[in-house]
């Protein structure tokens, strides 16, 4: 199977500057240190926080031991973190039964015991 990029990078400290916003066309790009706007290619990007409450658009459970350092089962979701920006993210829940489509989410830091997990998401407090 595939070896994924395990560089730990995104923690709660990075939330104020998680995304890049293009001053030319207004498109959001993830991550904020991207080398150019994914829509128009401009390099005039401003580092900005998520402009919306993140929303869970899809989710599955990873059953296989396919990512070194990531012990299954793990819930993986597609989270919309800005208009048009849907990223795969680890969902910090015990199982899928706690999730519904299009539910608002919040970003939390990595499990302190596991530095490789970076930023994770969980259902927004009011929804839990």
């Amino acid at each position: 199977m595939t070896t994924a990029n395990l560089m730990p990078a995104w923690g709660v400290d990075h939330l104020p500057t998680l995304l890049a916003h293009c001053r030319q066309c207004g498109t959001y790009t993830f991550p904020s240190n991207a080398w150019g706007c994914r829509q128009c290619g401009a390099d005039t990007l401003a580092k900005v926080p998520m402009p919306q409450t993140p929303v869970l658009r899809n989710f599955i459970t990873l059953h296989g031991d396919v990512v070194p350092g990531l012990t299954p089962p793990v819930v993986v979701g597609e989270v919309e973190i800005a208009p048009g920006v849907v990223e795969e993210a680890l969902i910090a829940v015990a199982d899928e039964s706690q999730l519904t489509l299009d539910m608002p989410m919040e970003a939390i830091g990595a499990d302190p015991a596991d530095t490789q997990r970076g930023l994770r998401f969980r259902p927004l407090e009011a929804q839990r």
Binding site: F30, A34, N58, I60, L62, E78, G84, E87, E88
Partner: protein, 382 residues
Amino acid sequence: MSRLLQERAVHVVGIGMHPYQFPSETPYVHLGLTAIREALKDAGLQWPQVQAAFVGTAAIGMAAGRVMLRHLGSTGLSVTQVENASASGSSAFRLACQAVASGEHEIVLTVGVDKTGHARRASGSDGLSTLSPTSNLPVAKFALLARRYLRDGGLDVEALARVAVKNHGNASLNPYAQFRKPRTLEQVLASPKVAGELTVQQCCPRGEGAAAVIVASAAAIARLGLARSRSPRVIASVSTSEKLGRGDVPPIVDMVRESSLAALEQAGIAASDLNMVELHDAFSIEEIVYGEAIGVSQPGEGAHDLARGDTAIGGRCAVNASGGLIGMGHPIGPTGIGQIAEITRQMRSEATGRQHPNTRLAMAHMIGLGSVAIAHVLQKTD
């Protein structure tokens, strides 16, 4: 390319394979030469007649071509190595077609050969980090796509598993396939879960192997007295890459739709004219959504068409008669060239045991990590 292939005909005159297999100690040179020698013999050509070679490989390393080809004799031919992830072989084949269609060469070899385990991905060196350690993991991406498709269509997991049943069944009849065992629906569903609804038997294996195809101009076929009726013509070749998504359609699906539509337009045919499609079913869900994107099935009808047998050998349009990536295997470099070999074999009515009747128009469609798409259309020659 759109006019070139119409102005100067390019034909597949020879095919050869080394069976796809699980990782072994066999040197890649042996794998590649086995396929090339079989293709030369099939075409009735001698090595010195080949003017250029395009070598598709993703994991062997730099300069794999001449190291292998010198064992056939040092003729001084043009040698180019092509890496385009899973589409390496398809891209090599496209370049071979261009070399003939442009008039630069008359007889060109394209060979895909690969071993597992040595590939490094550029996405790990782009200086950026992803949000999730699964972000570059195809099985997670396609499990998410599968979940969405099943949910939107109100379908159950059997809809996906039927792809694997069909393709393992086809592969069991293909002597070049990595998997040679038919699987039942129960077996596919009971195999260990990998991600979401995808079980192990719905995922392509890792492996190695080789595939070779020789293309030639119509003039060369006439001059050398090659068997024209055994030489399908390449009538379209298209290469594209992913664009930003539009709304709810995943960008990779849009890419498949646009690339196949461009290939059909170039060929001057409709999707409904296709008798056969070989496509990138690294994961079962891909065959269903790409089949719809190409137009083999109407939107939302892919799973129903599969269940009805429309995409089986003998059905309306055989999809992955070779066994596809799930059954035949996916050694990366050879995969796209193996598709061309399968289509050629079928058009010659030489696919013993798995012959699809009356294959006249076929598409080979391949995806590469990134994502990129390569589409070719072949037409039977009378």
